[in-house]
Symmetry: C2
Subunit: 172 residues, 2 copies
DNA sequence: CGGCGGTATGTGAAGTCTCATATACTCACG
DNA sequence: CGTGAGTATATGAGACTTCACATACCGCCG
């Protein structure tokens, strides 16, 4: 049920339409959640049915009429309860990482090529994440920087033709 | 369709039962994927129906008969194709992070308490991740270490009563 | 012998997610 | 005037995910 709560959290800042919410989620991966519009619309319906948000239609300068949702007192209560729940680390769910990990059984040239591809993704994402002063943004930046450094270290180890394990020794 | 491919990847190392696969996934979060048994069993059925794995029943020293799956040539081809697909960064999907981010609008004592709770999770996980010499494990370790450092920096900033933004200045 | 804990397989319901597809309104450009 | 781009809402299929529950086999301990 996280998506509904995340939407409630966004709405608690300012009323918004499904479209607005999607834009805000996609713009800032540091928020920790994203979803398709086709998930967001039914989720807003459920929130409406449950009385956690209210709806006001208003015509838009462009396109069809906007459906603007805002949090009700009941929604605010629900949000507060959700925020107070105990934390847990997320279940890993990253197809790219899974493939990268399986690749370790492949040949070095292949691994190098794929690692560089991944490094490119990280570099692009780091640039996108360059702005913003929230704690969550700072977290995202340092994580991307760390992963970039990791990719470089693994590349270097591949080039050197060794495994970069704790067993690796300085040559005497 | 990632779960099926991840299972194929695990099976390509050694034949295994659904139970085995679940254990291997849960033991190593650095693999980038985990799933419930109730997902794994139907996924194995689909792989079987598709001819990507074969099945051999064998009795187990304990418990009901094991159903051991192994990759077929067709499965190996499918795995290879999947591994060759282009990479992409995963869509953010972390309820804890989402709550942590929303918390930034709360009061400092509250934020400090929650941040410390999160820090505790990270520290535990880092300990669990301490072993292993694969690149994926090294990645996980440096990421956890970085996040731990981030949590400490944010805590310190909260204590100091300022925002730790780029606007923060050395005192004159 | 009876129950407990670990191994091992499953089902079902409800919600989530991805991907494809459809509709409709407005503005700008050619 | 037509067409494409951007805004905005929506539906459906199929797979994925979570959680609760059910079943069964084995050895061990009291």
């Amino acid at each position: 049920m996280s998506l509904s709560h995340v939407l409630l959290g966004l709405l608690s800042t300012a009323p918004a339409s499904g479209w607005d919410l999607k834009r805000r989620l996609s713009e800032d991966p540091a928020r920790g959640w994203d979803a398709d519009l086709s998930q967001i619309y039914p989720a807003l319906r459920r929130l409406l049915r449950g009385g956690f948000v209210s709806l006001k239609r208003r015509r838009s300068p462009q396109g069809p009429p906007r459906r603007e949702y805002r949090v009700t007192p009941s929604g605010r209560r629900e949000l507060k309860d959700w925020l107070a729940e105990p934390y847990a680390l997320p279940r890993p769910h990253d197809a790219t990482l899974a493939r990268l990990a399986l690749l370790e059984r492949g040949l070095p040239p292949d691994r190098m090529r794929r690692l560089q591809e991944y490094r490119g993704l990280l570099a692009d994402e780091l640039q996108r994440a360059a702005t913003g002063t929230t704690a969550a943004r700072r977290r995202r930046r340092v994580l991307l920087e760390t992963e970039l450094a990791w990719a470089d270290a693994e590349s270097a180890a591949l080039l050197a033709g060794r495994s970069l394990g704790p067993a690796a020794k300085e040559r005497p």
